[in-house]
């Protein structure tokens, strides 16, 4: 299974095999991986040193820039919200469409990577705000993914914008595609209860 957690804050992809996490796009910190609202995601690590030596940027200034001024905000130049970017994409002189293209491109790369290291998948999951409510992103990401058995049903996809579990694949699709609402708080509660039960 590949799970795409696309949120308005952070976003990440997980490769999951038999319930066990095998790989994840975030790293030592939540900075690497996908392009996010204000985080740069994957970047040549040596760029940090290059920028500090060549342009004299201070470390904390650069860290802040990569975490809070990059991503969708950094590329579009006007918003960290994918909805704003989609609405304003074609304005001349701005980089809204580049931001959207990069967001989709990087997500496609991770999905392709994880499907390949897993040797094929049964389910592709989209979750969190953007994963759940943005059919355009799901549509663009699933384009041309027949090579690994992924076939999105455009109509089912368009209708899936609410806070419910939705199936998005065609009947012929080898891979099931679903969008699932996140319930992190609920998950935390349940884990907490389990822990307390065990201690009694």
């Amino acid at each position: 299974m590949v799970a795409c957690h696309l949120g308005t804050g952070g976003s990440s992809v997980a490769a999951i095999d038999g319930g066990i996490s095998v790989d994840n796009s975030m790293g030592y910190s939540p900075l690497p991986g996908l392009m996010m609202s204000t985080r740069c995601g994957d970047i040549d690590p040596m760029l940090t040193i290059y920028l500090m030596i060549t342009y004299g940027y201070r470390p904390d200034y650069l860290m802040d820039m990569l975490n809070k001024e990059s991503g969708l905000l950094g590329v579009s130049g006007f918003s960290s919200d994918i909805r704003d970017i989609i609405n304003r994409m074609y304005k001349r002189g701005e980089h809204g469409s580049l931001a959207l293209d990069m967001y989709v491109h990087r997500l496609k790369k991770y999905i392709g990577s994880y499907i390949t290291i897993l040797g094929g998948i049964d389910v592709l999951v989209f979750t969190d705000d953007i994963g759940l409510r943005n059919p355009l992103i799901r549509q663009e990401v699933c384009k041309g993914m027949e090579w690994c058995g992924i076939e999105l049903d455009k109509q089912l996809n368009r209708k899936a914008v609410g806070n419910i579990v939705s199936v998005l694949n065609t009947k012929k699709s080898k891979v099931k595609i679903i969008s699932i609402p996140t319930a992190e708080e609920l998950a935390i509660c349940l884990e907490g209860l389990k822990l307390l039960e065990a201690q009694r």
Binding site: G27, P59, K109, I111
Partner: protein, 340 residues
């Protein structure tokens, strides 16, 4: 006769190619060595036509052709890219500057290993950083362009014109992958520097940049961190885990690039030594079986190339031996029209 120069800090390497015969040399780079090379060349130049070639690893946004005749303007542009890869580019700039002036009547050819990728789609070459940084020329430059371009040409030669989507995997000291569609590259693993991407023999590959700031916060200088990550890391530190980690990283990038290409027609492995890389390649091929890449245990050679895929495989596979000097000299002959 052809003389091709390549930087290998602190050395400068060069090879002489004459009538298909190759001989290689290298000396520590310092100004006197250029005089020495100059004097050696003077002894033979009256008797034969010599073509000089210079291999520039990263030409930034200055050099947009993989191979071109060196002119005053292109030499000036090479000078402008020194800061991109200071040790390497400085050596080749000085060599090209000195020798092109000393032997002004000969032909001088500039090879650039990043030019093949200069027009990568913006979504592939752009980093998700603010415009104020991007406008300083900070982007993915790629590398080994001459090699990947050659691999594409060979794939077409062996498998025919039906091949449109190719993934080219270079397995040398700096492993890297390129995705090529109809002869045009659309993605690659080497970024602004050749550290980004797959771990090499000495460099860490992809790594969370937060770690760099963390190490600095613990008192290590950025200069030291630079050396640690680019010269003292990589596969050489992983001992018995190195083959598994190399294989994992190559496969994940192959998967990423098949996604970008929306499928693949052929996967080409380029190696400097076939025997050494046989095991890694067969390990990688095995992991791609589920995609319809049917590889075989016993490979067959066709016109000196090793075919990795069975004839009924949906995806074709090829292993090429890369003799860099020969490939470069052949390209130079096409450009200058001179027999070596």
């Amino acid at each position: 006769m052809m003389l091709i120069f390549e930087p290998d800090p602190p050395f400068i390497r060069w090879c002489t190619i004459e009538n298909g015969h190759l001989s290689q040399n290298k000396v520590i780079f310092d100004t006197p060595c250029l005089d020495k090379i100059g004097r050696k060349v003077l002894k033979i130049i009256d008797e034969k036509n010599i073509v000089f070639g210079y291999l520039l690893s990263n030409g930034g946004d200055q050099i947009n052709r993989p191979i071109s005749l060196l002119t005053d303007e292109s030499l000036m542009r090479v000078g402008k890219c020194i800061e991109l890869l200071p040790e390497h580019n400085n050596i080749i700039y000085k060599a090209a500057n000195y020798l092109s002036k000393k032997f002004a009547n000969s032909q001088h050819v500039l090879f650039c290993d990043s030019s093949f990728f200069i027009d990568l789609p913006k979504k592939a070459s752009t980093y998700a950083i603010p415009y104020k940084l991007r406008k300083k020329g900070i982007r993915r430059y790629g590398g080994y362009g001459l090699c990947h371009q050659w691999a594409w040409e060979e794939a077409r030669r062996v498998f025919g014109k039906d091949i449109q989507k190719v993934i080219s995997v270079y397995l040398g000291n700096t492993p890297n992958v390129a995705a090529i569609k109809n002869g045009v590259p659309v993605e690659t693993t080497i970024g602004f520097t050749s550290v980004e991407g797959i771990p090499s023999i000495n460099a860490c590959g992809d790594i969370d940049p937060t770690i760099i700031f963390q190490l600095h916060a613990e008192g290590i200088s950025f200069e030291r961190i630079n050396n640690l990550l680019s010269k003292e890391s990589g596969l050489s530190c992983l001992f018995n885990k190195a083959p598994e980690i190399l294989r994992y990283n190559v496969v994940r990038y192959i998967g990423a690039f098949i996604s970008v290409l929306e499928g693949v027609d052929a996967i080409i492995f380029i190696v400097e030594n076939v025997e050494d890389t046989k095991k890694i390649i067969s390990g990688i091929c095995h992991l791609l079986d589920f995609l319809g890449f049917k590889s075989k245990m016993k490979t067959r050679k066709v016109k000196g190339k090793i075919i990795l895929s069975r004839s009924n495989s949906k995806i074709k596979g090829l292993c090429l031996h890369y003799d860099k000097w020969r490939v470069l000299s052949e390209k130079a002959i096409s450009l200058t029209g001179k027999e070596t």
